[in-house]
Subunit: 356 residues, 5 copies
């Protein structure tokens, strides 16, 4: 199961702006990819160090520069890149502290966006979270990812092939595309959850087992974590879409509106899922108690039929000297008949009570 | 049961505006119907292709043109029609992506409305959803339906016979009529649900079976899906009714207010239904546990009466050599008497405890 | 139980303004009562037809005219009266369609108010709803009731005897009085519900039966229906009280404020009742499970005491040839002693465990 | 238990302003106390009749007059006092109708405040409510209490001894003091409830009995009634504190802010209590079902051990002529050994399953 | 467990501003620490009495003075310090009354802030609360703590070593640092709770015991208390961050925004925890009932198999004179065979029903 909370205790008491990476400590080297493009030309390279990024800092250039960093564990790399682009030290702190709430912050000359990327690992049934930070300047976008899973590959390909409007438009459109692909990923997660829920529903109808219970619990938990990230996302994109941030041009607003609709749709679907799963738990519990009911009925029937019979047999097993019935010629068959009568009338009684 | 979520995974990562139809892939041909009317004249025909629609595009005409498309699986047909009426490519995408939230969007020269049409298939107990898109221009309405069930037949007839105000008024009144018939359909669905609920209530009183449980679950699920579509509908019609969209004239506002009242009424009724069904679940569970209680009481009574009796019989079935009672003349009747006393006093005890 | 939803399916697809009466079809004739008064004079009569109302339409008259219609099944009567007073056709439709939400609508020259009247039939334990429509003009009030139960009798008497301020004030005060009596009726319904709840509470303490469950369910259901009508009533009266409707004069505002306070009070009380009833259900369920607990304890005690005893008896009932104990002189009393010891020590054990 | 609703049915249909006292009808005489003070002088007396109050009505006086009425059952006394101070007849009605919601109403020249006073009778475990009405004029305060419990004694003493700021300030400060003491009383009630809850918590841990259930229910019910009065109190004091009422001077605002903070604190604590009590119910139910579980385990163990043993004994109690085992020399001890083996292995099995 | 409510009954009825310390009465002496600094110089000393603080009161000084009081039980010490800095007497009351809601209040010349400090004592599993009051003036900060646990040590060290921005900035930055460290402490508490929850989750999967129940209850209770303090904290910091308090300079706003984000994050996490714990309770209850189910199945199986067998044995234990089977040569083995058949077929039946 995904962690409920990330350890940030080592940060307590440190002055604001202290740069400490919260999250998995990896050993692989972080990767910096630089893509510089306009409608006509395209330059794509991997940077060995931060120095390679300096030439792209020039604000008078007409091309759009996208610098993507995969891996945050190399703290000074992130720090240097941020310093190079004159990013506020509190932001550098937030980029490294990956236990942040999605938010948007406007600074002079750039916009800082934190997002949560989700992906559902179907094999291990685990929901994986990753924090993505974007810094949008007038003609550049810096993106920071925790993993090296390369979720932005599709955007890179789209830029590469020049498909769609992306090459004709500015850095704000690139930022929109990155946000859009993250929100699209939520739909993938929802699809995975939806399939899991429908599978569970079938199991519930056919034969509910105690595992159902555990699956319901993990589903609920995953949905809680998703929800925690999506609600602030909504506010955030709403702010963008209302045109409150000058760096997003008018022409991008209609696209942001589209992303906003998607976010609302994700929220609606998630809330519906949550209620469906709650309903499933109720149904599971009641079908369990129905089954217990059935078991207890069987027990009661057996006991109610055989206890009186055993008692009768016990009576005629007593060793009293003077028990006239024992001497009768037809005593034994008579008793057998009585027993059969008692047993059958009990069965009829249960039939009437609809127990059988 | 209705699907919880539609597959849209194939769309992930595609550039915005990519035209992909989400939903059932059918093989029948989509049908285009054109109706052109004013107070005096009426022209109704089925169009073989998009070309037949071009003459009706002329904005200086005084008649109202309604072009209805049944079936969205022929992507290029929808695309061409939209291009012909100069509809934004993001809208064309939304028309085809039938997993949308009801919404309204204003563009220069036209208004885009997404609605969800529901219908309840009583035989199979299935709630069927369909996405309806409307594009309202100054003198035309384009409507896109997924199915070919022809839910707008009544409007067509009303135009044909010239009944009501419809022929005297503009395209906005036609759009209102289409919205109105969709909202009216919600009442039909609610009626079907209401009847199902009242039937369930009777069953609950007479003899609750485990099927009740399953029906409650599907009812809840259907209501969740309905609700997901009706809440945004409400906001949407509220926006129209407040007169925020210039394409709806003053004279239509009072009718929109009426539709708005209906929507609120639908929501209120749905919420009441939801709470009634929740209450039914509680009652079902408690009556189940009441019945279990009764069963366990029977078991306990039988055991409590027969166990001591069987024990007494067992005692006198022992083979000790020196058991004086066995030799007594009246030993057997005495023991029978003791047994009867024990049994009857137990029964009286249970009577007093109100178990019988 | 009250119906959850009224059939309005016959209305689907009809043009707006179609006049169809929804509700019970009665055969008695509808009754029209006309009361015309000012401080000095009073005229009261029953009208045979709508024509008798025409003279009271004159807007220059200084008297207040109140025309009350009991029974809506005579559609054309209502239609004619509405036409006579120049009421919009959508309103006539709403008057007849008795499945409306309480609302207020302002038109030029008059105000349209829909209210729900409730009354609790104690004998049959049924909550009866009735839709009351009011049309308030500058010097007239039209009121439409479904039933002929004559709930406005008290107002008529007050006008007749000239008690209170009613004769000195205008049509708006009359409308206020009608609204006030409807809200006062809610308190009667709440009182009936409150008494039923307190009765249930006593039953819960003394001896809860499964009927309690059913009563709780019907209580909840009735409260849901009440609530559905009272919440919109609140908004409605709030609108009036804020002085948004010009037809209500300043002098009536303080009285409307009083009605508003009553409405809030009704809502508060209803919500409190709902929570009390929810609490009662929980208590009922737990006391049921407590009782089951007690039953199972008895079963366990009996079984735990007699099973070992019966086993011992069974052992000495075996027919082995070589069982030395059987030959002992004091074998039988010894075994009886052992049995008694086992039984009593079990009882002591249960006592300690606080089962007895 | 406190009543859920007060009978007001006798008021239904009466004209607004009808003076009817709702509540307990007492026979003792109502008491009028007059206190007149400024910084220098103090006059305190009990008035025999309303006439004694007339001299204090003079608006040009510089002293503050506080007239307190204990007991509302003498309707004409209240009526006369209200007439004497020119109070609107709707207010007089509200003072007498003690089933009111806390509210504040501003009139020309005075302010009308309704509050609910609570006190917890620890001995009988009953929550007692009382309605207190205040009328604040420029230099007088009228206060009406239902009971004669004298909750305002402390204020009277503070005025008497001249402690605190009260003698130096105006009538608005006196009104604040009265409100403050009522809100302080809520803390006392909360303390009593809090102690009861903590006592229950201990019982839950040590030995939960069915009485716990009943106590939880009454706690919930009391808290519902408290809440019904405190939420409107909050709005009310907020209105005062925002300085919307001219009769409260600037200098008193900071004190009102303090009362407002207290009210919020009361609400927060109450909501916390409600959730704690809900949690306790859950725990009670689960510990009950845990105990049932334990009982059923005992039953199952006993049955599972002794049923097979009794069966074996039964087999060798059969009277077949040819049963070779019966003749064996060591048959009896062998069977006893078999029985012991079965019994002990069962016990080991249960141990492993952690039942014992 | 932490107390639900602090005793404040002794305060009821006292005039506003009465100075009474609510909380633990300690005997140790309260400690006053004075730190006076600017970028260049630093002075730190422990004050023996309030007099030592007087020189730092001078408003024309350019240094920042921080006076910290540990321990509120010495009422007159607090009172004198407050008088010395001209703090309003209602505030002095609030500082001493440690049962306050977090709030912020602006006065002329200073700002009064109440906060709740939490810390989780892992060993005793107790949540410890402490009220911290801050008074922020133009160039001084007074802080009042209940305990002597010295939570502000880190700030003092940071000032001492001159690390971070703290020495270069004003009193408002110091106040921010104190608030920040308190909010950071919430993360520590959340971490402790999160670990406890994840530990519980593991236990739930492996082997749920009744202790789980008790832990869930205390967790819920602690989270309720936390929540009661954090929600008002949020409003409070939001007010600061929006720049409504002039004493916080523009340059500090970005830091306050950071604290605000942390507060929101704490709330989100807490709400997620609450829902996770609710889900755990449901799972616990259902796994308990699953286990009961299993136990009852065992009971039913044993009874269903052995009751018929014992009955058969009982029949052939009867002492009738004429029972032909008893005389048969193969009677005994035949009966054993019948018994085996019955037993095995029962077992097969249970296998099919998936009970084994």
């Amino acid at each position: 199961m995904a962690k409920l909370i990330k350890k940030r205790s080592e940060k307590t008491g440190l002055p604001p702006g202290a740069l400490i990476h919260i999250g998995e400590k990896k050993t692989e080297k972080a990767r910096i990819t630089i893509i510089d493009y306009d409608e006509m030309q395209l330059q794509e390279k991997e940077a060995a160090s931060v120095e390679a990024c300096i030439p792209f800092k020039d604000k008078s250039r007409n091309t759009v520069t996208w610098i993507n960093v995969d891996g945050l564990h190399q703290v000074e790399l992130v720090e240097n890149l941020c310093k190079c682009f004159e990013v506020h030290h509190l932001i550098t702190e937030d980029i490294l502290n990956t236990d942040q709430r999605p938010k948007i912050e406007e600074f002079e000359g750039y916009l800082y966006i934190i997002l949560k990327m989700f992906c559902y690992n179907g094999k291990e049934n685990v929901l994986i979270t990753e924090q993505v930070s974007l810094i949008l300047g007038p003609n550049f976008v810096l993106s920071f990812q925790e993993n090296t899973r390369d979720d932005f590959r599709m955007i890179r390909e789209r830029i590469g092939t020049g498909k769609g409007r992306i090459r004709k438009m500015g850095a704000d459109h690139l930022a929109y595309c990155l946000i859009d692909i993250i929100v699209d990923n939520y739909f993938l997660v929802l699809e995975a959850l939806g399939e899991k829920i429908e599978l569970l529903e079938e199991k519930l109808v056919v034969y509910p087992t105690p595992e159902v219970l555990h699956t319901i619990y993990t589903l609920k938990r995953d949905m809680l974590l998703l929800r925690k990230s999506i609600w602030p996302l909504r506010e955030m994109i709403n702010k963008l879409e209302r045109g409150e941030c000058a760096l997003f041009k008018e022409s991008t607003t209609i696209y942001l509106k589209d992303v906003y609709d998607h976010t609302i749709h994700v929220i609606d679907t998630l809330e519906t899922f949550r209620e469906v799963v709650s309903g499933m738990l109720e149904i599971y519990l009641s079908s369990m108690s129905n089954r217990m009911n059935a078991v207890i009925k069987v027990l009661t029937m057996i006991a109610t039929i055989f206890m009186p019979l055993t008692f009768i047999a016990g009576v005629y097993g007593m060793n009293f000297r003077f028990m006239p019935e024992l001497q009768w010629r037809w005593g034994y068959p008579a008793v057998l008949l009585v027993m059969a009568t008692v047993g059958i009338s009990m069965a009829i009684y249960f039939r009437r009570k609809k127990w059988i």
